[in-house]
């Protein structure tokens, strides 16, 4: 998705629908990761990770108490960086 819009900057201008659908795609990817680390690794899938031990307990416990928070941080900064770039690709950034 990055390459497409970079190759055709002229077309990208005024393509608000294209901008929005790219945004929705980025949001969806981020939210899937968001759900997998917290509800997945931290809660529902914890039994599957019980074989991997981390400091006296298992990886699921680490995800529930620390890991998911670190991933959340990465997701928000990635999204901010990616969207601010997308704004410029589509020429919809603020003046």
């Amino acid at each position: 998705m990055v390459d497409q819009s970079a190759q055709t900057p002229a077309k990208a201008k005024d393509d608000d629908a294209g901008y929005w659908s790219t945004n929705i795609r980025i949001i969806t990817i981020c939210l899937v990761i968001w759900a997998v680390v917290s509800f997945g690794f931290g809660i529902v899938l914890r039994p599957l990770l019980s074989g991997i031990s981390v400091g006296g307990t298992d990886l699921g416990f680490w995800f529930a108490q620390q890991g998911s928070i670190i991933v959340f941080l990465a997701l928000i900064f990635f999204y901010a960086w990616r969207m601010n770039k997308l704004d410029r690709e589509y020429g919809v950034e603020e003046e």
């Binding site: 608000d16 901008y19 929005w20 945004n23 949001i27 981020c30 939210l31 968001w34 917290s38 509800f39 931290g42 809660i43 529902v44 914890r46 981390v54 400091g55 006296g56 307990t57 298992d58 416990f61 680490w62 529930a64 108490q65 620390q66 998911s68 928070i69 670190i70 959340f72 941080l73 997701l75 928000i76 900064f77 999204y79 901010a80 969207m83 601010n84 704004d87 020429g91 919809v92 950034e93 603020e94 003046e95």
Partner: protein, 595 residues
């Protein structure tokens, strides 16, 4: 210098700092009162939002709930941070682009309906007031401890301080004081945790110490803790005990609620640009994560310390003696906290020792009988005192204890002030100026804002005297209410052009009513004790506790809104255009000009 004077000194100095800043940055116009003239840098805004966000629930209460429950309460950690992902991705940039002051203004304009705005105001008030109750609980405990009085008096004195403080400045005063409060609270939270982590694991970073090695035994810290609590008949710390469904729903409720709370969302109206709103959410979470990565370590290490203090020679030897509790300076904290009425012990079997164990555990009955124990003798240990008592439990120097008292008050005060601001703007700006008396002057609008703050405090104090749970649990209820009412309306308003005025109003009302009903059924009508029909130990719907219901309420909201919108008139074209424009950052600056 004795501990009482030291506490007063720290608390007094921090207050002088906040009030100084509030007076220096006193709000003049209504625009400054609500949104600080939109001149706040994302990092500054992030820090202030973090202080606003991390309340008595995060600072005072959360680690205690984790300490005594272990893994099952990880929901608080994931829920109260994961919500920022939703906020950053789904709401913040668009609400900033829309460019008004309050959440209900957005809902009123997007759903082209005064009724929608009114319903949004009601939802905000219900959620915010429930939230303030939790804060006042925290304020009461903190004041009770550092003045060494009963928590009821602590609550009354604290509420006067909160009121005086919130009325002084509006958002601008609050923004810069909250930066100062963040610095105080994060220092106060981290320093004792570093000391304790060094004592127990030799690692200066508590978050790493939690997964490190317990120096005294050579075992991993969490394995050691699991073993001690198991020996005392309690549930294993790192294992899952509750229902998985409930844990998922509870975590989800806290996440959605985070993204639906007015005093947090309002923050993102105050950054200069849409791109800043995206960064701002990230910076906020950075500052929150500093505390949230430390909190589970604080909880686990405190649980270990308490267990070892009660069983100084190991769980198989004799328990701590009453004489030692009364005379040994290491146990002085127990007498101090007894004065607040939140900690108590009783030598039930008269053997001169205090046995702390789980007397409800059948497996421990034989051991108890053989040793002549007649029940758990640490009869009361309120979860909410753990963080404040933690430095004393670990025998840290007096100045650390004073610092923690100041930090706890900073956390409770900053959030209470932010919430009161959200409540007062909902009443004066949305209810009075927006609906009832549109020609109101700026001066009387500010007056109305202050009167509504006072009214909100009175309600919160009355309800805070008989709280529906520990501070973090009360706050969790507020999140459930915000999750069920506000978040779905905001999200549908941005991501769907199909939802019309009737759909949004029906959705919000359905979500709010069904969640409020479920909470009242379990916690008593208007939180009045003994009027509940069910308990969270045996909830109405399978494993779903009242604190977890927000996620279900949100689902009800979405379903009702889509169904009703599908049966009624389509959204007008100009509203569809409004939604389209909110989705694109271009031209954000101009939107606020009409205010």
């Amino acid at each position: 210098m004795d501990q009482f004077t030291l506490n007063l000194l720290f608390v007094g100095a921090s207050f002088a700092l906040y009030i100084g800043i509030a007076v220096w940055a006193r709000a003049g116009s209504t625009s400054e009162f609500y949104a600080a003239g939109r001149g706040v840098h994302p990092v500054t805004n992030g820090m202030a939002t973090a202080a606003d966000w991390m309340s008595a629930a995060s600072f005072i209460s959360m680690a205690g709930l984790i300490a005594f429950t272990g893994y099952d309460n990880s929901s608080f950690l994931m829920g109260w941070t994961g919500g920022y992902v939703l906020l950053a991705l789904l709401l913040a940039p668009y609400l900033r682009k829309f460019g008004k002051f309050t959440v209900s203004e957005f809902i009123g304009d997007r759903f082209y309906s005064k009724t929608a705005r009114l319903v949004a105001v009601i939802c905000l008030l219900v959620a915010s007031i429930t939230y303030v109750i939790g804060q006042m609980q925290g304020v009461g405990i903190a004041f009770g401890r550092f003045l060494e009085i009963d928590t009821t008096w602590g609550l009354l004195i604290g509420s006067c301080v909160v009121f005086a403080y919130a009325v002084f400045g509006g958002m601008k005063g609050v923004t810069y004081t909250q930066v100062a409060q963040y610095c105080v609270l994060i220092t106060a939270y981290t320093i004792p945790a570093v000391f304790i982590s060094l004592q127990l694991t030799g690692n200066p970073i508590p978050a790493l110490g939690l997964f490190g090695e317990h120096t005294a035994s050579g075992e991993p810290l969490l394995a050691k803790l699991d073993q001690i609590v198991r020996d005392l008949g309690f549930a294993e710390y790192t294992a899952a005990h509750g229902s998985t469904i409930n844990m998922v729903l509870f975590t989800l409720s806290l996440m959605i609620g985070t993204a639906g709370l007015p005093h947090v969302i309002m923050r993102f109206f105050t950054v200069p640009k849409v791109s800043d709103a995206r960064w701002s959410a990230g910076w906020t979470l950075v500052f929150i994560a500093l505390l949230y990565l430390t909190a589970p370590a604080v909880g686990a290490m405190a649980r270990l310390n308490i267990s070892e203090l009660m069983w100084p020679n190991g769980t198989d030897a004799a328990a701590v003696s009453v004489e030692q509790i009364e005379n040994d300076p290491e146990y002085a904290w127990m007498a101090t906290w007894q004065k607040t009425g939140l900690l108590d012990w009783e030598d039930k079997n008269g053997d001169g020792m205090i046995q702390y164990y789980n007397d409800a555990n059948a497996d421990l009955q034989a051991k108890a009988e053989a040793n002549g124990w007649t029940g758990n003798e640490l009869t009361k240990f309120n979860r909410d005192i753990l963080v404040l008592a933690n430095p004393e439990i670990a025998s840290l120097p007096g100045w650390v204890i004073g610092l923690v008292a100041a930090g706890g008050l900073a956390a409770a005060l900053s959030t209470a002030a932010g919430l009161l601001l959200a409540i007062s703007s909902a009443v004066s700006h949305d209810l009075l100026k927006g609906q009832l008396t549109p020609n109101m002057s700026e001066k009387s609008e500010l007056m109305a804002a202050r009167i509504s703050m006072a009214a909100a405090i009175v309600v919160a104090v009355i309800l805070g005297l008989n709280p529906p749970g520990f501070a973090a649990q009360t706050v969790a209820l507020a999140f459930g209410l915000a999750a069920a009412s506000i978040f779905p309306a905001l999200m549908m308003g941005i991501f769907s052009t199909r939802i019309n005025n009737v759909g949004a109003v029906a959705g919000m009302l359905a979500g709010l009513v069904v969640t409020l009903l479920y909470i009242f059924l379990h916690k008593g009508w208007f939180f009045i004790p003994d009027t509940n029909l069910f308990t969270d130990a045996d909830p109405l719907l399978g494993p779903i506790k009242s604190t977890s219901f927000g996620a279900i309420g949100a689902l009800v909201n979405f379903i009702v809104a889509f169904t009703v919108a599908g049966m009624t008139k389509e959204t007008p074209q100009e509203i569809k255009d409004l939604v389209e424009s909110v989705r694109i950052p271009r031209g954000a600056g101009a939107a606020a000009a009409d205010h």
